[in-house]
Amino acid sequence: MSEYVTLVSSDNYKFVVLKEVALISSVLRNTQGFEEGKTGKINLEMDGDILECIVEYLYYHYKYKDQAELGNIPEFNIPTHLALELLVKADFLDI
């Protein structure tokens, strides 16, 4: 099994992401039982810039999840104009 998955946005931007990182989202985790699990490619209904933010967040989560208790992790910044749309997608991905 490959240790990377490819997230594809609706406007065809591709993000190659560590599987472990992508699976932080329970929705992406659940896709692995289906076709996406075999092809290693997940098509997502969102624009490239949104998906980029989401991938950034996933890596942020991955990097700092063990240090959260210690308190001093940097804030995750998102562009203001994307906040609403990002909220919808984050709600969808359950992250």
């Binding site: 989401i54 967040y57 942020y60 989560h61 700092y64 999840k65 959260a68 208790e69 210690l70 308190g71 001093n72 992790i73 995750f76 998102i78 203001t80 906040a83 609403l84 749309e85 990002l86 909220l87 919808v88 984050a90 709600d91 991905l93 992250i95």
Partner: protein, 617 residues
């Protein structure tokens, strides 16, 4: 860093003379050193005369410049160690005598005989290099000597680092403690929460929230309420024609017109909750009456502009469809309003909550409540904090429960401090088979024995068990009462508060959470059995002398999630540990005011203990 400036930044006004003297290096410390020098001068001479063969301290330039401590380090130490020791001891004694002086100016630099004047050369105590001694040279107390400028810089850098570390760790602790007060743990924020934060920060620029899901919508609404930024423009973001239920928890900045918009934009509302709705006007309620045709659940907190007559009109027109009604904190909801409510919707009500209504001041009106509730569908009843405590009596509650007891699941009687044992024995324990949530804060007239007995009998009536029990400040209750309550409901209880029940003993709590096969409890049981058998045969003299301890078998609390043990002084680290062990689901435990609960207590990591003195903010 100048030594006389480092203590604090606060200084009184200075005269020109003081400023001049300071610039010249003539300070309080300087004066005192001079005096001390004068008074000390016979002392070293004496010593020199007793041991003349010793190296001449005052003549050797190498030796005079360095204080005693530095001399040893440089390896010049000879057989004069003993003598040095004596000198140092004398120095120490002298310092002790001077202890009433400001320690900033203590005569540390006098403990060797040689005193360097500012401007002379000295050896740095850390690097050993020769440097020019100035007023600003730093004296290291623990090394007994001055340091040169370069060494001082490195020391200062170190100190700055230490300070920064200290600040950051303090900040961190503060963050954790703050989160603790909000009953949260510090963890990575969800992306949704980050977005919501961003949105609420820029809420004024948002034109429409779009399809973000009702859960997120409610989240944003709650955060805006908490930030007090729910206002005329933000309210409209939440209104859409399909809404069936709407909750605004802080409407204080929402004006009358915007409150009207709720009814015009969301005509299908079935449930409406408006808290802190001080701007809700008579006309608004009238408008709701005509426009919200299907509204059946109404909760208002603080609608003090709505007058008695308008309440009555509202109930007459739409009272028949009301099933849940809640009103808090208004003095304008008066006797006639309540009668009108009962007449028009009494028999349909499934939930009735009346709290802090100071306009309701007639006992007769309160006594009417049971008559209108028949046949009862009432599931939730709250009558809390009445205007005067004698408005809500035992008889009233017994009458209400006799009618509604079958159906009632939630009962809240906070602050009805006129209620006594009779209410428990003849009301609660007899008529409430389906009760799951009970809150009775401040019922201080209820006694331990009566409550214990009533709850024993209650098991026959209510075979289920209570889910949420709040006994805050029922100060009459003690070990037996709580034990019989938990014996009945321990296996179901999820939320539990025994805040301020100061009669609870440590022994009881220990036994409650300790396994029955624990040697301590076995011993106690045997002892008690022995006492009992003795007691039946012989006279009870012994028992009277030393109080008989009671035996309580352990109970289990499989679902207990949040508990408040605040101001139960007998709760300490030991109890905390036992509670943590025996309540597997417990996640929040409050122990405010229990000063025997310290940071030393051991418990599960996922259990949050709030209110210990050690948690600093």
């Amino acid at each position: 860093m100048s030594r006389n400036r480092k203590s604090s930044g606060v200084r009184g006004p200075n005269s020109a003379l003081t400023e001049f003297l300071k610039n010249e290096g003539i300070t309080e410390g300087f004066r005192r050193r001079r005096e001390a020098q004068a008074s000390e001068s016979p002392h070293p001479q004496q010593e020199r005369s007793t041991e003349p063969e010793n190296e001449d301290i005052s003549e050797d330039p190498e030796e005079t410049v360095s204080p005693a401590g530095a001399r040893i380090r440089r390896g010049v130490a000879t057989e004069s160690d003993q003598e040095e020791e004596a000198i140092r001891a004398a120095g120490r004694a002298k310092r002790r005598d001077d202890s009433d002086f400001d320690p900033e100016f203590s005569d540390d630099d006098l403990d060797a005989n040689g005193i360097k004047k500012f401007g002379e050369e000295d050896n740095c105590v850390t690097c050993g290099k020769v440097f020019n001694l100035t007023v600003y040279s730093r004296y290291l107390r623990d090394q007994r000597g001055y340091v040169c400028e370069t060494c001082n810089e490195t020391i200062k850098a170190k100190e700055r680092n230490a300070k920064r570390n200290q600040m950051s760790s303090r900040k961190k602790r503060k963050k954790i403690a703050l989160a603790l007060l909000d009953k949260q743990v510090v963890r990575i924020p969800k992306l949704q929460d980050i977005c919501i934060k961003k949105i609420t920060l820029n809420i004024d620029d948002v034109e429409a929230l779009g399809d973000i899901g009702q859960v997120n919508m409610n989240k944003i609404s709650k955060i805006l309420s908490k930030n007090r930024s729910l206002n005329n423009s933000t309210v409209s973001l939440f209104l859409n024609p399909n809404l069936k239920s709407l909750e605004f928890w802080d409407c204080s900045n929402v004006d009358s017109d915007s409150l009207n918009r709720i009814a015009s934009y969301c005509p299908n509302l079935e449930s409406l909750t408006l808290f802190m709705c001080g701007q809700l006007h008579n006309d608004n309620l009238k408008y709701y009456t005509t426009n919200l045709k299907s509204l059946s659940e109404l909760s208002l907190n603080g609608p003090f502009l709505i007058s008695d007559t308008v309440w009555q009109e509202y109930f007459e027109q739409s009272g028949s469809q009301l099933t849940k009604f809640e009103v808090r904190n208004t003095h304008r909801f008066q006797n006639d309003s309540l009668i009108s409510l009962l007449e028009n919707s009494g028999r349909n009500l499934t939930s009735l909550r009346l709290s802090r209504l100071d306009g309701l001041d007639s006992k007769d009106v309160y006594d009417l409540i049971p008559h209108y509730l028949e046949p009862s569908k009432l599931e939730q009843l709250e009558i809390s904090y009445p205007f005067q405590e004698d408005l809500v009596t035992d008889d009233l509650l017994i009458n209400i429960l006799a009618i509604t007891g079958e159906t009632i699941t939630h009962l809240n009687l906070d602050g009805c401090s006129n209620l006594t044992d009779q209410f428990i024995t003849d009301g609660l324990a007899k008529f409430c088979p389906n009760l799951t949530h009970l809150s009775m804060k401040n019922l201080d007239q209820i006694t331990n024995e009566a409550f214990a007995r009533a709850l024993e009998e209650y098991s026959a009536v209510n075979s289920g068990g209570l889910i949420s029990v709040d006994l805050t400040k029922c100060t009459g209750l003690g070990d037996e009462a709580i034990y019989s309550l938990l014996k009945h409901s321990g296996h179901t209880v999820v939320e539990f508060s025994i805040n301020s029940l100061s009669l609870l003993s440590k022994d009881f709590l220990l036994q409650l959470f300790t396994e029955d096969h624990h040697p301590y409890k076995k011993g106690l049981k045997e002892k008690l059995e022995k006492l009992e058998s003795n007691g039946t045969n012989e006279n009870n003299e012994e028992n009277d002398n030393n109080e008989t301890p009671s035996y309580y078998p352990k109970l289990s609390f499989p679902f207990l999630t949040t508990a408040d043990f605040g101001f139960v002084r007998s709760v300490d680290d030991e109890i905390l540990e036992l509670v943590g062990e025996s309540c597997p689901k417990l996640s929040i435990l409050e122990v405010y005011g229990n000063n025997r609960c310290t940071f030393r207590a051991n418990f599960r990591k996922d259990l949050m203990v709030i209110g210990r003195q050690g948690d600093e903010v």
